[in-house]
Symmetry: D2
Subunit: 457 residues, 4 copies
């Protein structure tokens, strides 16, 4: 494929208009896009079909080793992502997080199985960088933000067997042991199960029930003497999609952990980590929409039926237009949240808008992404139902977007909370909408009026 002059002909102009700093990184993004659309996409198809990861819990002497055998191509690209700065750039080069969210958007167009672990690593970096005690940050942050090919990857261990949404019911116990803690429990759905550094929720002995009793702990995969930490990956989930990504059940058998925050702060920190990863979920969903649109267009242009190219047919045009409109809506909303993320780092007053736009974006883009993969698959038809085209993989992968980082109902609850008087979210929503309407081009005046009516109504 030829080198691209832009990472996205549709989206780049808008993003750069909204965040001119991105212009400085436009070449980095274009090169990243070229690599993703050729190399990463080829790897993703290969890994999904031929060489998903396998688990070897025990070594040949019967000792727990927690080895996950991923194929080398996937592993090399995973590390290459960190080398290119998808997590490290905001730390090493003071780049905006927006840049790394844009990289996530691009990456998700080819491989959600790589986008997910990158998100987790970024979340661990964010927690360590923003909220960890100095000593912990100084000791561990560099491990996850380094760009020299030796980065450790991250994990967020919250979900337990009773379910992912109800974090307050966490049953994992943290037992104090000198300057460390020993964690006991079962974490049920740990993506990137072979992370080098995970953050985990746990309840210290004697702490109160519910989310107020939770602390947050850092769990390295190996002890300082090189032995595996005291936990056992008991199995990998056999998932519908994101097959390249190892997701495990983990028995914590006194796993050595470092306290990041004691109760009652653990829950709040885990929620802040979610703020970060939900933005990634939203831009990733927009990436899935983008790819689906790309595949649908490519097919419609070249496929002929009844004597015409498909896209000569009004019903096909109608479908493609719907995909395009929903893509633009999804992408703009997702990046609204991404920009708010950087603003919130500068000024905490932006947090309500960040949470509000994130909840909206997380919910809506996931819906859009699933619809887009289905639309592309149905357009391509029987061929789209096979691994000869990437849309079947995208469709399987996309189903996870509504499921993880909080399903629709959880986002709705978050919205209800924020729209309530305490957070004054409604005012912020109105004000942001008004600014958008004020910026509409003259020729769309009537549209503006109609939208304002709707907004008031």
């Amino acid at each position: 494929m030829t080198n691209s002059s832009s990472f996205d002909a549709y989206l780049a102009p808008y993003l750069i208009a909204r965040a001119p700093r991105l212009q400085d990184h436009s070449r980095l993004l274009a090169e990243f896009y070229d690599w993703v659309r050729t190399e990463v996409d080829a790897q993703a198809n290969y890994t999904d079909r031929y060489a998903p990861p396998a688990l070897e819990t025990y070594d040949r002497n019967g000792e727990v080793v927690n080895r996950i055998v991923a194929n080398r191509w996937y592993e090399d690209q995973h590390q290459e992502l960190y080398r290119r700065g998808i997590v490290g750039l905001p730390y090493a080069a003071k780049a905006p997080h927006l840049l790394t969210f844009a990289m996530g958007y691009i990456l998700a167009q080819a491989d959600i199985s790589l986008h997910c672990p990158v998100t987790l690593t970024g979340a661990v970096a964010y927690v360590l960088g923003s909220h960890a005690p100095d000593a912990v940050r100084e000791r561990f942050l560099y491990d996850v933000v380094r760009m020299d090919g030796l980065a450790k990857t991250g994990g967020t261990w919250a979900t337990e067997q009773h379910g992912g949404s109800d974090v307050g019911a966490t049953t994992t116990v943290a037992i104090s042991n000198e300057d460390r803690f020993a964690l006991h429990g079962l974490k049920w759905f740990t993506s990137n199960a072979n992370s080098g550094l995970a953050v985990a929720t746990a309840r210290p002995e004697g702490a109160t029930p519910g989310s107020a009793g939770l602390g947050l702990y850092l769990v390295p995969s190996h002890l300082e003497d090189g032995r595996p930490n005291h936990y056992r990956i008991r199995k990998l989930k056999d998932k519908l999609g994101t097959k390249g990504l190892p997701t495990g059940e983990i028995d914590l058998l006194g796993a050595e952990a470092i306290e990041i925050a004691p109760p009652p702060h653990g829950f709040k920190l885990m929620m802040e980590a979610l703020e970060y990863s939900r933005v990634h979920n939203a831009v990733g969903s927009a990436g899935v929409q983008r790819r689906s649109l790309h595949e649908a267009l490519a097919w419609a242009k070249t496929r002929r039926a009844f004597g015409h190219a498909l896209w000569d047919y009004p019903m096909v045009q109608d479908e493609l237009l719907r995909m395009r409109v929903e893509f633009e809506a999804g992408a703009l909303l997702a990046f609204e949240a991404a920009i708010a993320f950087d603003e919130t780092q500068q000024n905490a007053q932006h947090r309500t808008w960040l949470r509000l736009s994130t909840a909206l974006a997380k919910y809506l883009t996931a819906e859009y992404a699933i619809a887009a993969t289905r639309a592309a698959l149905e357009l391509i038809g029987g061929n789209g139902y096979t691994s000869d085209y990437p849309v079947a993989r995208l469709l399987r992968d996309a189903q996870v977007l509504t499921v993880w980082e909080g399903p629709a109902n959880i986002q709705a609850l978050e919205l209800l909370r924020l729209l309530a008087p305490r957070y004054r979210g409604w005012e912020q929503y109105q004000s942001r909408m008004q600014a958008i309407l004020d910026g509409l081009a003259q020729g769309l005046g009537d549209l503006s009026g109609a939208l304002q009516d709707r907004l008031r109504g």
Copy 2:
């Protein structure tokens, strides 16, 4: 599991009210349901995850053998379905086709990978039984309707590399050779690729282009001397779902074939076969809805979050209610078509209503089925995203329901055709709707009026 007294607590009363003859078969259906929900479901999960079919095109001496290695459990159940009469009952016992469509509805709740080949076998039986020359029917019909455990299975070979909808562009050529034909071409998407008897569209040498030049031919898997027929299954498709079902690309290398109908009748007969299989597609889709609803209910009843069972939550109730309503709508529409199928066998004047209701049902139930699997998966959440629950398999399988037997656009074109004056479909539609409205219970009077207004447009 306990023995069921009915094959479906929701649906059975309605069906028996509409078609009292079904009452005679209620025990057969209840036993069938018990077998499907225990044995077939277990097989379907196993086959999908552990032992999908493999292809051995050549034997160890280098000869084409077209051997498809399915696991024995799947194979045994496939034959058991014929033994129970899912194709043969209307032939052996003059049972209504409705009975076998009801069996299809039940079967699809557990395994679309078995429902599909049964549909194909039924379609071949229907074509042979209703439209083949006497000599052909007498020679071959018994092979596909026998209920002694030795039935041959069927295939319908129409789709070529240029696409499935545009059958008129068929490039397969039929060369006359004494009382047989030799077929040359490439069939691109042949489900149940190891069928014993397939019907195939082909164009005799010198016939006109387009659908008017197509004949229909019967292709046995083996020649009379026991050697494989002259074709080669070149590969199996690596599909998103229906993994238990072998779907192949087939090179016809002078395959010996028996004429069922010369041009211009071939296309029309293939369309009549589709009438049959689209009804199966619709009842199968309703079956997928039924199973999704079942799984969602089972989860909502037993799963607890934030101190309550899920189905105590209004948002969950809302979702379950939507699934139930759409299931009833889908199932009633699908069986409307199924009943019209039997009526059309009695009286050809019912054909327009059959085609109209089938097009509506095929389209709408497939949409519903996909939505139902997604709803169930999202309710179950991360667990639903794994093979620990059957919904991920159902979701993959369900995507095929919109794709095969004609996608949405093709059903829309069929509807437009039938609503045109030539077929007087609109009158029939109005009349059927009026009858339904007239039958509504008194207490729903206002609803009836509102629907009538809507109908008048």
Copy 3:
């Protein structure tokens, strides 16, 4: 395939001459042979290549379930073997064990992955039938000898991580708990890992080190209330061969067990179980020789090179002759031990000869079997190196024959022990040889003299 009039044209006459009672069962054996060479062989090839067993240690709720997912064909045949009496006949019908050893010989010609678990089940039956306390025998023996399709299968859990030969170093501990024991430890190489009833060596708390401190215990797979017993199959071994057979590592986590024998009798009983299974190993090895010879002959007769059938070539004839001679030597030696087994049941004075002939036969037939598979593979050449022919599977499977039930060195030590004055094995060996020599036909007189010289020598 035609029905056989005899189970083995080469071997049957000899066996019947040696043990005329077998004549009564000749039809049973011939039918068994027909079934094995067609159905079992097809299953063995399929299972090995396409559907080996998988382990699901945990269920979807996170509970230990120890489910081994074998394909249905393998499972059905496993149970069919018990239905045909391969373990039960000596108990139900007072048939000689020789009959079941002959069945083992036949079975191993097609599938060692089925022969092995049958051997284990037979060993458990033998221990229970001959050595268990009355109450234990009455409660459990029927479970493993029943011939109604519901038999439980057996296991012998001795090998630990430190190695299989040094049983005296067993580290598994048995803790007394009312009328049961709770076993704690790690069993390292448990074939037929999903046995319903296993016998296990363990050391009661406080017992002496070494083999004198070992007891023998019966471990059911499930507790009386239906829950899984307290152990965990942690993984299945990825073996070179016998891929159809699940072989696991088992963590005993307080597994409930019933005492069969307290120290110091445990070790001795496990050794008697080995007497039984080593005879099976020997007849199975002879079966592998037989099959290899069969495959080599079939190839040599039909394959042509340089203008002639292979078996026209002296070098090929030479190889085939060597295979035939070694087969006869191996089979006669193996059945010498098999016959001694029955004699020992009648009269314990035969035990030395049983042990001596078993050690010789176990060692020598395993060597022969490996050599035979190699010879057949090399004759068939590149084709033999593929799964298109069964010899590559046989070769992989055969490597286990030297490894399990005691390798060559252990058999040598057993021989040294028996030849020592205490057991007077040498006298018995000489006497048996003399009887053979006396029975040689006249025409072989010189041969007899030469052998006598050698024997004296």
Copy 4:
């Protein structure tokens, strides 16, 4: 692992004494050894167990594409071997072939699935370099000897369905077409099936039967316009071992080919290519012995039974000693042939000794290699029977060493031919033996006499 100072503590001194030029390359060999024993060995275990190659004969448009999907790790190492000069060094740097044979010996200790294709590429280079017409050599040789990471890999397509030894019965036909040939036929056992350049035997139309009618042709995988050449890889063999190596059946459908030699020279050239690859087979076999010895020693040193390390036991020492002696015998014999190969390039009079020593070495080292893997496996016992240790893989791979490049009988015929008066092989054999005996150390005088007697006898 630490960096090695020598590539082989046992063998290096001898080889350097025999061929002092090797000293110049000792660092290259030591580095090569370090890379092979760490990286290549890890890849070989991974590829064998988790990611063997797969074939995609057709692309998604139904066109033949002959794509073999190997895992990236294997592919990268394959190219890295050429970068390190395992084929190119004798061409680029005038290094002796002995150096590349030594690299083959090292490589085979870890991965025969890589050693084989390297051998084939070397054989194509040898044929092109030594025997092709100038124009062909100038056009194609560089493609296979380049060391810049872009080398094409080689194949030798001789074996047909009727068998590998009887090359004279070749049925592939070469039809002249301007300056090229079109090949039609079926090649049955093509290792490294996705070679970029293969040499193939074929019979021009009208040529005489038998080996005298064979020409030799060069077959590129792609035409000059980039399309795949006119052949179809119809399937990959499911082999006992060398699973990393794709071995296919290839339908030649008018494959475009360039003449290297017309009849009657084709057969002779293919035989000379075999001279090269048989030497590699022999040094590779010695490599397998070396690795088996290494694994056996490592186990015997660390494993304890009955209170002692295994190698304290005389029976174990006896076995290890046998392995060591056979390794030395095998390696010295193999390198005798390797050295003769270089000498023959200098002086054609050495050819008889090359052929004679090669036939002896090819035969004997393959036998030794299989015996060594079996000995190592049995020493390690049940653990050795699993993929936890590499010996099971070595054993499977080693079986191919007797089978390909001519089995034992073919080597025996070659020996008989060479020992006949025409070639005066016996004299050369005696003379070489005498030189060895003369060089024996004084203290071994009696041994020398005994060997001389044996030689005369």
